[in-house]
Symmetry: C2
Subunit: 315 residues, 2 copies
C-alpha cells in the first residue's frame, strides 16, 4: 500500500510555510518556511518541491491563505498575490488544489490539537458532538464556525471582522466614536486586532503607540497602557459573547492569531479574566447559558498546516 502525499501551505502576509501530509497528518520533517518578499509563489513552490519531493509528486494540495477566496481564486489581504487553485495544481502536478482561508484552516485543525497547545481562559464541559468556534485576532479579525458532519468537520468561510463593533459602555463608546471620526467606520477588526489595539489607545488617551510598545508598557505596569488593555479585553469579551449566542459553540471557543496569543497571559490574570468573563456573560435573561462555553487560546503555530492536512484528507 502506498500512502498518498498531499502538499499543504499556510500563506501569510510575510511568510509561506509548506509541508507534505499523509492521511491527514503533517509530516513535520517536511515543514519549510519561505519569506514572501521579492518572490512569487511559483518560485517558492519550485524550490520546495525540488528539495522535498524530488522523486514523487503530491497527489493533492490544500492551501490556506490570509485573504478571501472566491471560487478557485484567493486574494491575499496584505500582499499583491492572487492565487489560482488550477495554476497551483498544474505547477505541482497535483490532481486538485483546495483553497481555504487561513481561519478556516484553523477550524479544520481543531480535531488535531493536543491539550498542551491550548491555554484555558473560561472553563466549561465541552460537548464533542457540538459546534465549535475559532476567533482569530491578528493583523485582522475573523471567526470560523466548525460544524461536525459525518465525514469530519465543515468550516464555512466568514468575514466576521467587518461587522459593526457594538459598545454599550462609556469607554467602548469612546472607541466607537474615535473610529467613526478617524476611519469613517467602526468595525470589529478596527478595535480587535493588532492595529485595533493602537486605535483603542488613541481613542482613550489621544496618543499614538505601536501594539508591541503598548504591550511592553503593560508589562511595566504603566497605567494608561493597562487601561487600553482592559478596554480591549472588555470589548473582546462582548464580541465573542455575541458570537457564542449566534453559534452556540458548546464544543468550545478557541482564540488564535498573533495578537490573540499576545493577550494570553493577560486573559489569565485574575482581574482581566474577570473583565473578559463579565463582558462575555452579560447577556441579560440568557446569561446562564454563557456558562456552557469553554474558551482557550491556541498556541500552535502549525495549526493552519494541520488544518489543511485534515481538510484535504476529508474528501
Amino acid at each position: 500500500m502506498t500512502t498518498e502525499l498531499s502538499l499543504v501551505a499556510d500563506i501569510g502576509g510575510t511568510n509561506t510555510r509548506l509541508a507534505l501530509s499523509a492521511a491527514g497528518v503533517v509530516l513535520h520533517d517536511t515543514v519549510r518556511r519561505f519569506q514572501n518578499e521579492g518572490r512569487q509563489l511559483n518560485d517558492i513552490l519550485d524550490e520546495y518541491l525540488a528539495e522535498c519531493c524530488p522523486d514523487t509528486k503530491p497527489h493533492s494540495a490544500c492551501f490556506a491563505l490570509a485573504g478571501p477566496i472566491s471560487g478557485d481564486t484567493g486574494r491575499m489581504t496584505n500582499l499583491a498575490w492572487t492565487i489560482h487553485a488550477p495554476e497551483i495544481a498544474t505547477r505541482t502536478s497535483a490532481n486538485r488544489c483546495i483553497l481555504i482561508n487561513d481561519l478556516q484552516a484553523q477550524g479544520y485543525a481543531l480535531p488535531a490539537l493536543a491539550p498542551d497547545q491550548l491555554t484555558p481562559v473560561l472553563s466549561a464541559e465541552r460537548d464533542i458532538r457540538a459546534p465549535r468556534l475559532v476567533v482569530g485576532l491578528g493583523t485582522g479579525y475573523n471567526a470560523a464556525f466548525v460544524l461536525p458532519i459525518e465525514s469530519g468537520v465543515l468550516v464555512p468561510a466568514a468575514e466576521a471582522g467587518h461587522a459593526s463593533l457594538p459598545a454599550h459602555t462609556a469607554d467602548g463608546r469612546k472607541v466607537v466614536d474615535w473610529l467613526l471620526a478617524n476611519l469613517g467606520q467602526a468595525q470589529v477588526e478596527d478595535a480587535l486586532s493588532g492595529t485595533g489595539f493602537a486605535h483603542i489607545h488613541a481613542a482613550l488617551h489621544g496618543e499614538k503607540a505601536t501594539p508591541p510598545a503598548l504591550l511592553a508598557r503593560c508589562e511595566d505596569g504603566e497605567a494608561k497602557a493597562l487601561k487600553t488593555l482592559e478596554v480591549a479585553i472588555e470589548l473582546l469579551g462582548g464580541v465573542v459573547g455575541d458570537l457564542a449566542l449566534i453559534f452556540l459553540p458548546r464544543g468550545g471557543i478557541y482564540l488564535t492569531g498573533g495578537f490573540g496569543q499576545a493577550l494570553t497571559p493577560w486573559l489569565r490574570q485574575p482581574h482581566l479574566q474577570t473583565v473578559f468573563h463579565d463582558a462575555f456573560a452579560a447577556k441579560g435573561k440568557i446569561s446562564a447559558i454563557m456558562q456552557d462555553f469553554a474558551l482557550s487560546v491556541i498556541g500552535d503555530d502549525f495549526a493552519a498546516l494541520e488544518g489543511c492536512a485534515l481538510r484535504v484528507a476529508q474528501n
Copy 2:
C-alpha cells in the same frame, strides 16, 4: 410499497399546528390548528391522532417549538410547557421524535419554498450550493444558518436575538440608551421584534404605543410613527448586514416571522428600501461583497411544518 407517515408540529405561544407528512412533504389535508390555552400538548395530540390517524400510527415525528431545546427537552419561551421528545414518541407510538427550534424549522423549509411565497427586497444572483440565512422577527428575534450537506441541509440552533444591538447613528444610540436605561440591556431582539418596535417608538418619542397601533399610524402617514419605522428598518439593515458578513449567505437571506411579514410592504417602499439597503451595505472597504446577497421575505405560514417534514425525512 408503503410510504411511512411522519407526524409534524409547529408549536407557537398561542396555537399548535399538526400535520402528517410523507417523504418530506406535508399532506395539506391533514393540517389542523389547535388553541393551546387551557390544554396540555398530550390532549391536543390525542385529539389529532383520533381524527387524522385512526387506523395507522406515525413512524416518526418532528416538532418545532418557539423556545430553546436542550438535548431531548424543549421549553416554550411564552408558554408554561416543557416538551420531552421521548414522551411525544410514546404518546404517538412513533419510533422517534426530533425536537427543533421554530426558526431551525424555517431553515429546513427553504428547499420547499415556492417562488410565489417569497417577496424580494434585495436582488442578487443566488448560489444554490452556498449557505443561506433565515432571520426571524416575531415576538422575539433569531437567526438560522442553513448549510448544504450531502444528505440535505444542516441548520444549527442559535440564540442570535440576545447578542448586543450595535448602533452607530444618533437615532440608533437613542434606542440603545433607552433600552439600557429601561431594560438594563440592549439586545438585538429588544429593538428588532414586535415588542422592540414599541421600544424604538418610546425611545424616539417618549410615547407608549402597541405595534399594531404604530403600524396603523404608519398607514395613515403619521410622521412620528413613520420615523419609528424608518429607525427600525435602519437598525434591521445594519444587524442583518452584520449576519451576512458572519455567515456569507450567498444562497440568499430570508426574513420571516409575524413582524417580518408586517414590514414587507414597507421594505418594498422605495425610500425605506433605500434606508434598509444602505444600512445593510455600509461595511466600509468590504461593502462591495454586500451586493452578493439576495434578501426576500417568506410569506408562507406553513413553512415550519414543511421544515419539520423535510428534517424528519432527511435521516
